[in-house]
């Protein structure tokens, strides 16, 4: 069913998936003696929704942190947009066009929703410190142009009514959406979502799923996400990587993964004798 060529493939619902944007080759990550990720390879294609799933402690979050530069793997290569990526600091990765959200929400609590989303535009603002300090010419133009993009995203994610509210006052579900808005504001080439539905009720989960699909559809954003909830993942994603104890035990379409014996064992448990 999958077309393995660089040109991508067509999904069941007719979306066109492009070439490989990010490729992880033989990634190994250790913390002291503990091996969090063991020799894992997979790729992410342009325009696709790619999920990484697995039981608790499988190394999913570690993998996301490797992609976003928070962890540097001991072995393996990371290829992004056709170039091998040298070890980088997280902010450098962000500047390359990889935006992310966090499992435990990392927003700027003291700032308003609008200001939070505006920080997502930082990588697109080029005016220097002195121009900024003097608030001249380019700095002002930039602020206005970026503001437009941000307002569009705020509309899109339906958070207009809380634009000026300090983030600390928002309920959990809305915070998650603001975090998504901030990541989206960067117009990322790759968007990483760390458990976007964790801790949500059914209604909030449905909303979030819809937004993820809409974002992918409307902006053509490539999305890689980690999720616990199998049901949600299978509905959302085009392809799924399954991890268990730091190893990759499955990779393919949701249907393929669902019928993979190793995956079933990992999730349901299997007697070792």
């Amino acid at each position: 069913m999958l077309d393995a060529s660089q040109d991508g493939y067509i999904t069941e619902d007719g979306r066109r998936i492009g070439g490989v944007v990010m490729e992880m080759k033989n990634i190994t990550l250790r913390f002291g003696g503990v091996v969090a990720i063991k020799d894992i390879s997979f790729d992410i294609r342009e325009g696709e929704i790619r999920a990484i799933i697995g039981p608790n402690g499988a190394g999913k979050s570690s993998m996301l942190n490797v992609i976003s530069g928070f962890y540097v793997p001991q072995e393996g290569e990371i290829w992004f947009r056709g170039e091998r990526r040298p070890p980088m600091k997280p902010y450098e990765v962000a500047r390359q066009g990889i935006a992310r959200t966090f499992q435990n929400i990392a927003l700027f609590e003291g700032m308003s929703v609008l200001d939070n989303v505006m920080t997502g535009r930082l990588t697109h603002m080029k005016s220097g410190l002195f121009q900024q300090a003097l608030w001249k010419g380019k700095a002002e133009e930039e602020e206005v142009a970026n503001r437009e993009v941000v307002e569009h995203i705020i509309d899109f994610l339906e958070i207009q009514h809380i634009r000026k509210t300090p983030v600390a006052r928002l309920p959990y579900g809305l915070k998650k959406r603001v975090e998504l808005a901030r990541a989206l504001a960067a117009e990322p080439k790759l968007l990483l979502l760390d458990e976007p539905m964790a801790g949500m009720n059914v209604e909030e989960k449905e909303d979030m799923s819809r937004f993820i699909l809409d974002v992918n559809d409307e902006f053509g954003t490539t999305i890689a996400l980690i999720e616990h909830d199998m049901g949600v993942v299978m509905d959302l994603s085009d392809r799924v990587v399954v991890m268990d104890y730091g190893k990759k035990i499955g990779d393919g379409t949701p249907d393929e993964v669902r019928n993979n014996q190793e995956v079933i064992d990992a999730y349901l448990g299997v007697s070792h004798d």
């Binding site: 600091k89 935006a99 966090f102 990392a106 927003l107 609590e109 003291g110 200001d115 900024q132």
Partner: protein, 328 residues
Amino acid sequence: MPEQLIFSIEVFLNGLMAGVLYSLVALGFVLIYKASGIFNYAQGVMALFAAMTLVGIMDGQVPFSHLINATFGTDVHHFGWQLPALLSILLTAGVMVLLAWAVHHFVMRHLVGQEPIILFMATIGLAYFLEGFADLMWGSEIKTLDVGLPQGLNETIDEVTYNIFGYGFFIDNLDIVATVIAALLVVALVLFSQYTKHGRAMRAVADDHQAALSVGINLDFIWVMVWSVAGFVALVAGIIWGAKSGVQFSLSLIALKALPVLMLGGFTSIPGAIVGGLIIGVGEKLFEFWVGPLVGGATENWFAYVLALIFLVFRPQGLFGEKIIERV
């Protein structure tokens, strides 16, 4: 109008002016505290260092001349030039940026993520180091600083008040200038932090490091920037204080006065630093005027601390600080 009341008004105005200087020093504390959670004990010494460097550059003093002379048996002390004030101020600002970089690069960078008390201890060390370093670099004698700020009695105010009250107020021109400069500085800082990219990044870093990294903010750059801004504020405070009472080591003690100011205004609030400084300035002058004679004077030495203590009991977050809510 009763004489006592007229005197009180004059004391009040003088207190406001003195308060401006406290505010300036407190402002430097707030900036660093907000952006990095570090209580920078060295802020006062930074003001001293800035003032000494400014005098040294203006008068063309050879840095480390004592050390050089002792080592090589030479006798150098001055380059023999006198630089214009504005140029010297710019050069000193440059030195403060270098200092900010060095502080971050050699000290703070290695302590990221440590307990606040450890960071605080590091700044105490920094304060002592910087004091010794300034001494070694520029010598320990008291210097006069004259950057051309107007000084002495403001005759207009004297005349106007004389016509109204029959008694001319003594307001120092330097205090008026200091007030104007401080006001401009505060407005500039608030605009910068609220409406610019780097200001927003600064607030973001103060709020959440991880999130800041994830939107592409270089933490090292922001921290150096914040220390530079604090260094610049220290320079302004150093210039005004130095012009008022000479550049001497007691300058570094004004840092201690900033402490009660911060307790009053809150550690995280720029307006708080300003209002806190003014309240302390006015409070201690009025207290000295009204109560001082009854208790044998010298109340200015302790008034601020007692006021801070009262605040600690009844409103520990200060007037403008973020409310402390413990979740259980």
